[in-house]
Amino acid sequence: MANNFTYHKVNESEKEEIRKESKTLLEKFGKKLEKISSKEGHFERGSGFREEGSGWTTDQEFKDLTLLNAPFVEDNFIVAEKGSWKK
């Protein structure tokens, strides 16, 4: 059995439907939050600066796996052409 959460490829018309639903949902959510009168917070830590040290050396395995994961590789370079996934 499948519902609208179980995995399936999402076609363009379903994406459009999701877009409309999302807009409605966000409008609803946003309206609820309008009444909150507070400031945006940020958190400052007085301590805990990162020690730079000598850094982390990548090993050959790291490099090999990184190149293995890439769709197009030439020597030691990943060839990352924009839009290439459309081919």
Binding site: M1, A2, N3, N4, F5, T6, Y7, H8, K9, V10, E14, K15, I18, R19, E21, S22, K23, L25, L26, K28, F29, G30, K32, L33, E34, I36, S37, S38, K39, E40, G41, R45, G48, R50, E51, G53, W56, E61, F62, K63, D64, L65, T66, L68, N69, A70, P71, I78, A80, E81, K82, S84, W85
Partner: protein
């Protein structure tokens, strides 16, 4: 068997690490377990690692604090040399070139990695149904959802396939499946455990945490994986000193959850409070804005973090390969971040987040901890029709601790209509020890 007892038995030689691995491996390989769709990949080197631990024990050499214990992790936690695919076609075949800090910590204590666990795709969901590799089934009742997004992590514990598992929790993703599967799941304080190596969903909420069979076991694992990490600058170690009031906060649950869950919850907390001389104090939580605040921030940050999935350096382009809930969050985030909505949704959510944090500060000035059910309703059947809002509604009791960054645990509370339900304990930042202490009173 508790982890404490098992560690003792392994270190004394009474139980061999290799037997521990083989016992679990045999179970994992059975058709009944395979049908639950819990594991995505298994570590082929587990037996070799176990042999090394046994050899060192035999030679009376020192071994780590978790020597011989078997663990598995959610598929969004990077394990070097393992496919770390976030249960998505987008990262199918992606092999992690490095270990997450938590993995390095567990390895250095001689715990044995068993494999990668199923989850909701990119940690988007809440039921365990959105995985590209198919839903995980609830071991307590395979017709039901196990919960999510750490579905495999909870199901593995419920099926006794590991000594412990790791999951990630953004808005309830450890606690929700722990509740539905009848196990214990801890969401630590944000910043207590390094997220280095976690493929993030919402970077300002995500936490890595353990799923175990008890709060005592949870403490053992938490004490190993916590700590400041130079690779994650949001981590910090703190030991707060706070005078305890022996007072626990509870809310009026009428109209907020299933009546039977409310009855069970009331009965449980009254019994335990009486036994321990706790004063139960009625408090008010900003539940009316919890989901709205949470999901606006989630959509925004998820949209941002998924820009890297363009298929150029690894994996596939996300919009062409992901499932509906991932797409929904990306589209939602792309709407929120449009210039025309500047100052609207996201800024309002950040203000609400700050408001929620300050509300918890006021509450914890009056009470030591807060008790809540983990979920407002019992798990639905896999594939059952459910609206987006109803799915999100599972998170009503878990999102507030995520928004404010405080720790919370879900422990088994009992059953309603033969379905497992969890009880949640929330505490102030870095007071996990208080959570473990209180949880033990319920076990």
């Amino acid at each position: 068997m508790s982890l404490k007892t098992k560690i003792k038995e392994i270190k004394s030689g009474k139980l061999k690490a290799i037997d521990n691995v083989l016992n679990f491996s045999k179970k994992i390989a059975t058709p009944k377990i395979k049908d639950l769709n819990i594991f995505l990949n298994l570590n082929e080197n587990a037996i070799e690692q176990a042999k090394k631990v046994d050899k060192r024990i035999k030679e009376k050499k020192s071994v780590g604090k978790l020597a011989g214990l078997c663990f598995a992790v959610k598929s969004n936690i990077s394990v070097k040399g393992q496919e770390t695919n976030c249960a998505s076609e987008v990262l199918q075949g992606y092999v992690s070139p490095y270990n997450a800090t938590v993995i390095n910590k567990l390895n250095s204590e001689d715990a044995i990695f068993m494999g990668m666990l199923n989850m909701d795709e990119f940690a988007c969901g809440g039921s365990g149904e959105t995985s590209f590799f198919g839903p995980t089934k609830n071991p307590r009742n395979p017709e039901l959802i196990p919960g999510g997004t750490s579905s495999g992590s909870a199901a593995a514990m419920a099926s006794e396939l590991c000594d412990f598992t790791l999951g990630s929790d953004t808005g309830g993703s450890i606690r929700n499946p722990a509740s539905h599967c009848g196990v214990t799941g801890l969401k630590p304080t944000y910043g207590a455990v390094s997220r280095y190596g976690l493929i993030d969903m919402t970077m300002s909420f995500d936490c890595i945490g353990p799923l175990t069979n008890s709060s005592e076991d949870s403490k053992i694992i938490f004490d190993i994986i916590k700590g400041q990490d130079n690779f994650d600058t949001t981590t910090i170690e703190e030991k707060p000193v706070r005078e305890k009031k022996n007072t626990i906060g509870i809310i009026d649950l009428r109209n907020l959850c299933d009546e039977k869950i409310q009855e069970l919850f009331d009965e449980k907390i009254t019994t335990v409070a009486k036994k321990n001389n706790w004063q139960l104090k009625k408090i008010s939580l900003p539940l009316d804005i919890a989901l709205e605040t949470y999901y606006i921030i989630v959509y925004t940050e998820f949209f941002s973090t998924t820009r890297k999935f363009d298929g150029r350096r690894f994996g596939k382009e996300i919009m062409s390969a992901a499932g509906p809930e991932v797409i929904r969050r990306i589209i939602g985030g792309s709407i929120i971040t449009k210039a025309e909505f500047e100052g609207k949704y996201y800024k309002e959510a950040l203000k609400a987040k700050n408001y929620i944090k300050s509300e918890f500060q006021k509450i914890f000035a009056r009470v030591d901890a807060i008790l809540l059910p983990t979920t407002p309703k019992t798990p639905h059947k896999i594939g059952e029709k459910i609206s987006v809002e109803d799915m999100y509604a599972y998170d009503i009791f878990t999102t507030l601790s995520s928004i404010s960054g405080i720790p919370s645990i879900s422990i088994p509370m009992g059953k309603v209509d033969e379905k497992d339900v969890g009880l949640q304990i929330l505490a102030p930042h870095f007071e996990e020890d208080l959570i473990f202490k209180l949880a033990k009173k319920f076990e």
